[in-house]
């Protein structure tokens, strides 16, 4: 079910402001692709354009193409709701629905698809999704408790379980560990290496060691100055980016000379 993403000549705008310019990239299926770069360089904006979540902000639009498995996400007959059902997302801050139980959080996306599922099938789905997110053993005795009662790391894994329960093609992660402690971060990183067998994963991170640890490919975003659009400066295998990058800007950023 993992799918390849081809982005060509993608410009992203907020109103008249061009936030990201001229992105061309191919993201491989069944791998982790990391996006790094300084704040405000457009990497999160780019990530959100991959499942059309940036459109939530009024005035946001794109020019160019994002093609997943031959289908243009921005085709005129494509409903963003369908796009988001195929491409899951995990956010910077854990956001389980506070009024729902752990169980209901996991099946929230499935219930949206309006398929009537048998209780036993739902139970199986909850178990497999929570196991997939390495959370089952910690919560199996309290599935009916509110999800907001879990620790931050557990909440984030609950959100991952919720995202993978709908069997998406692609999993987008927007700085999923930036609000978590090192132990929880490790748990999520281990999870990513397991999940990449089934999903195409794209992760935005500020933590370069994290990018080095979890990803096969890394993209470096940068911008020339405030008010300028962000650009994808370099996209290469992670090993190459962190040892022998093609671009000087990448090397400067990696080695901590700025950013």
């Amino acid at each position: 079910m993992a799918k390849r993403i081809d982005v060509s000549d993608l410009d992203i705008f907020y109103g008249n402001f061009k936030a990201v310019e001229g992105v061309n990239v191919s993201i491989e299926p069944r791998s982790v692709t990391a996006l790094i770069g300084p704040s405000g360089c457009g990497k999160s904006t780019f990530l959100r354009s991959l499942n059309r979540m940036h459109e939530v902000i009024p005035g946001a639009r794109v020019e160019g193409k994002v093609v997943i498995d031959g289908q243009d996400l921005y085709g005129s007959d494509v409903d963003p709701v369908d796009v988001r059902r195929q491409i899951g997302m995990v956010f910077q801050r854990p956001n389980p629905f506070p009024t729902m139980s752990i169980y209901d959080n996991v099946v929230a996306g499935v219930r949206l698809n309006a398929k009537k599922m048998k209780k036993s099938d739902l139970d199986d789905l909850v178990e497999s999704s929570l196991k997939g997110a390495n959370l089952w053993n910690e919560v199996k005795d309290r599935l009916n408790r509110p999800g907001s009662g879990l620790s931050g790391g557990q909440q984030q894994r609950l959100c991952i379980a919720r995202a993978i329960a709908v069997q998406p093609e692609v999993l987008l992660m927007d700085e999923p560990c930036s609000a978590l402690d090192p132990i929880s971060t490790l748990a999520i990183e281990d999870l990513m290496t397991e999940l990449k067998d089934r999903f195409t994963i794209v992760i935005v991170t500020h933590n370069m060691q994290q990018a080095a640890r979890v990803s096969e490919q890394t993209g470096f975003f940068n911008l020339n100055g405030v008010g300028q659009p962000g650009r994808l400066i370099e996209f290469n295998p992670t090993e190459k980016i962190f040892s022998n990058p093609d671009q000087k800007a990448t090397e400067d950023y990696i080695s901590g000379r700025f950013g």
């Binding site: 009024p58 988001r84 729902m100 996306g109 009662g149 995202a163």
Partner: protein, 318 residues
Amino acid sequence: MTSLETPPRTADKPTRAVRSAGDRTFAGLSTGAGILILVVLAGVAAFLITESLDAISAPAADIAGGEGVWSYVGPLVFGTLLAAVIALLVATPLGVAIALFITYYAPKRIAATLGYLIDLLAAIPSVVYGFWGLAALAPAMVPFYAWAERNLGFIPLFAGPASATGRTMLTAGLVLAIMILPIISAISREVFVQAPALHREAALALGATRWEMIKMAVLPYGKSGVIGGSMLGLGRALGETLAVAIVLSVSGGVTFNLISSSNPSTIAANIALQFPESSGLGVSTLIFTGLVLFVITLAVNMLARYVVNRRADFSGAN
């Protein structure tokens, strides 16, 4: 605090919390304002109780209607609650729908304008609502009442005979509904706007349509706010005087028949209509009904506060 008042006597100056004159003045003023509210409330309650003692202790036969003060106030309480509940049943869904439209559906400019217009509804004096209900809404409702009697007459609410003037309990309830619409939609709007972007985005990223997003992330978050707003609206509907006095055609008894011209009055409207012609025990009886209304309104408002405050517990602030 006691440790501040008994400091070790090592320093020359006694150690006291340093407070500027401005701070002390402001603290005094705001404390005074808070106490003033309590004094006024206690004064009103004391007045209502002392003035109604005559009616409570009077022999039943002397009270208007001849069956005692409780029999007198019973139908009025019923009428008050009935009109307020009709208003609430109509205004709550409408107010919530308006609030959702303003916060999540309308283009920004339309939303702002509509918000102002709704707030403007609150600024219209109730006597104007009363005349509008009497002169415009009531006649307009007459054909509907006739239709309801013919086709829905098997339901006790629409048993008829249909009023020829339209001055029915249902008309009064509808006028009240429009009067409490601003408060319900304003409070709902406030809580819907505050529904965390975090959870709205979570729903959207799962592939929720806008309505599904509202069901998953906005309504559960705003539920208690909506309940609180409705309760405040209910409080206003219970106490509304002039609009009901003008619109409602009153002739006594307890009935659930909403479309006939014989309706129980409401407490507030009854006081307004009867007071000019009353003296002695009659005044005392009316004040007693006012005391009952005071207690009902107080209970409703306290319930509203309780529900609104409970919001913090399940808003997901953690």
